[in-house]
Amino acid sequence: MMFEYAPAPESRDIVDIRSSYGMFVDGDFVDGTGPSFKTINPATEEPLAEIAGASAEDVDRAVQAARKAFAVWSAMPGAERAKYLFRIARIIQERARELAVLESLDNGKPIRESRDVDLPLVAAHFFYYAGWADKLEYAGYGTRPIGVAGQVIPWNFPLLMLAWKVAPALACGNTVVLKPAETTPLTALLFAEICRQADLPPGVVNIVTGAGDVGAAVVAHPDVNKVAFTGSTEVGRLIARNVAGTAKKLTLELGGKAANIVYADAAIDQAVEGIVNGIFFNQGHVCCAGSRLLVQESVAGELLESLKRRLGTLRLGDPLDKNTDIGAINSAAQLAKIRELSEIGDQEGAERWSPPCAIPERGYWFPPTVFTGVAQSHRIAREEIFGPVLSVLTFRTPEEAVQKANNTPYGLSAGVWTEKASLMLWTADRLRAGVVWSNTFNRFDPASPFGGYKESGYGREGGRHGLEAYLAT
């Protein structure tokens, strides 16, 4: 018999979305003097709220507020800063469901992921760095904060990326001006409210909203001492050029085109899960996504069959349905980019496959897609698609696997699947990537450093390593 799951929607009523939001500067929500904009629900294309847009003057005000607060915050004993961060972590836990629903509404990601992955990691990140605030002298990077941190974050994990930026910055005694992505500002603004509930001193966290020009203004502001950016390599380059010749400390977490290497002796069912989690987690909107499957030719047929069967069980649809695996693409622009690169894949002669999958009428959607017969020279094997699109390539020997895996300007992450420990370590050793997941993929933890080699950026977020970016070493 067929076992159809009835709709199981998470209640949207848990979160109260206001019709308009101001920016958060010096502890208050204020109107912006730049052009306001709407943020929409990508699953339905309905507007969620009107958001204030920051002008260069607004950014300047935010930086000034952060500068003023820096005097207070940096002078505060680490143990006291820690307590604020612990408070924030607790409030995040208390309001986790509300934040998860808001994240899914604004971003399009399935509630299962925002609830079970994003939010637990957000709270854990604040807990983790709260604990560092009064232990910096043991970390090996000195104890001197840098000053005002300008932070620009992407739309794929809006609140988690905020946590990755804000928690270590504050723990080290810096103050921040953060610019969330223009398509996903809502959880950052709810976070601002959480800062108020935690009685965080005004100006320690400032959130300015708007598009790329606002981010550029934050980065370029002369009184910003530290710039942290997560996003595309293209923008990362511009930022690196912009800070050249200044004293600003820079960390960048950029794009990737990770190889997921499956050897013939892999635990095949878990490898299939890892491949699925590697590229279809968060609709593939993941910089470290395992977008290139490198499978040993001797098991390629078998593996692809298993993979296709497994993809047939993925459930695409309403992000708020608790059983949804694949949510909406975050924006029309991103959808257009995914479509364009996929069409290029077709033209290049790769073979496209998607499981039968009903696409909702409204909203931005792209079915889970696998390209087989992909060569290293194809654009879909080289360019970051940032969507649910997997390119499958084969290899014959471990040497060839490593060579192909490393044959990219990126170096953020990689996967390796084998039951043979020595082969795993040999491969992990040779992969030029900042994170190597062996017999697993897309795992994150506040205690584990994350960041790339080569054009995937520099600096690490997470762990003891993550402190370095926010201390004057």
């Binding site: 050249a244 010749g245 992969l431 017999n439 795992r443």
Partner: protein, 301 residues
């Protein structure tokens, strides 16, 4: 008949012997080529006396040096840390053996006193020894075992960034040079060095030490010439992963940092003031060109 050798006449008794001068060439891939451009420039002592014609490297020499450095990277980064430490220590031994020669060159090139020159050579030897010991320790202090909240083994360790361009400081032609090159290579990077333009000769002599120290060819490549001409090519080179701009003049450094953004090179900016090369160098010059790799693996039966 009996042949009887005639005893040679000692030339020095009557005519002063003409010294055999050294040709100062580039050091690329373990060999000593002249610049492909055929260019050279006159190097003078601090008092303005002619010392030698040094090769004036071109952008193509820089390109060749990057190729040599890339070729050497696999072997050098793949060598055991213990082995790299041994090689660096061997360089110190070789340098110690040529103490007098380097001291004399420093007196000529830098105008320092003989006593000061000796101290500088000693410091360079000691710096090599210091860094030699770091090869198998840096990962221990910069890596970590991470207690993640799940059944996973999670280990962060350091790896070299790759090919690093080094603009050596104009001052400190030996100690300054050693102090910027060795921290780059001890961790497994390979490098292309633009030597001090004003006092390049000790760098070429150092290359001779390197060539006889078990250091694989291509790990260190030394270009003499004009930093303002060469550094931008290295900064913009897409197969160079990092650049140390310690010796670059302010405007050159900004231009190079902008060029370096093209492939997100790791950058050491020039210092605000004069560096005291005799001071404790710290680990910063090593860690600037180290990547952190974190490996996850499930734990389960």
């Amino acid at each position: 008949m009996v042949w009887r050798p005639t005893l040679p006449r000692d030339a020095r008794e009557s005519v002063e012997r003409l010294a055999v001068r050294k040709t100062y060439k580039l050091f690329i891939g373990g060999a000593f080529p002249r610049s492909e451009s055929g260019r050279s420039y006159a190097v003078t002592s601090s008092k303005g006396e002619f010392l030698a014609n040094a090769s004036k490297a071109s952008r193509k020499d820089a390109r060749d040096a990057v190729v040599a450095a890339r070729k050497a990277f696999g072997g050098w980064s793949g060598a055991t840390a213990y082995n790299r430490g041994q090689v660096i220590y061997r360089i110190a031994e070789m340098l110690e053996g040529r103490r007098a020669q380097f001291a004399a060159e420093l007196v000529a090139a830098d105008g320092v006193s003989a006593k000061k020159a000796g101290e500088l050579v000693d410091a360079a030897v000691d710096r090599l020894v210091w860094y030699a010991g770091w090869s198998d320790k840096i990962s221990a202090i910069r890596g970590s075992a991470n207690p993640v909240a799940g059944p996973y083994f999670n280990l962060s360790s350091t790896e070299p960034t790759g090919v690093v361009a080094v603009v050596a400081p104009p001052m400190g032609p030996l100690l300054g040079l050693v102090s910027v090159v060795v921290p780059v290579i001890v961790t497994g990077n390979t490098c292309v060095v633009v030597a001090s333009g004003r006092a390049p000769l000790p760098s070429v002599t150092l290359a001779e030490v390197l060539a006889t120290s078990d250091l694989p060819g291509g790990v260190v490549n030394i270009l003499t010439g004009d930093a303002a001409e060469l550094a931008p090519w290295l900064a913009g080179h897409m197969d160079v992963n990092g650049i140390d701009l310690t010796g670059a003049a302010p405007e050159l450094a900004v231009a190079c940092e902008q060029l370096a953004a093209e492939n997100l090179k790791r950058v050491i900016r020039p210092p605000d003031g004069e560096i005291d090369w005799l001071a404790d160098p710290g680990t910063g010059r090593m860690t600037a060109f180290l990547e952190t790799k974190t490996v996850w693996h499930p734990i389960g039966v």
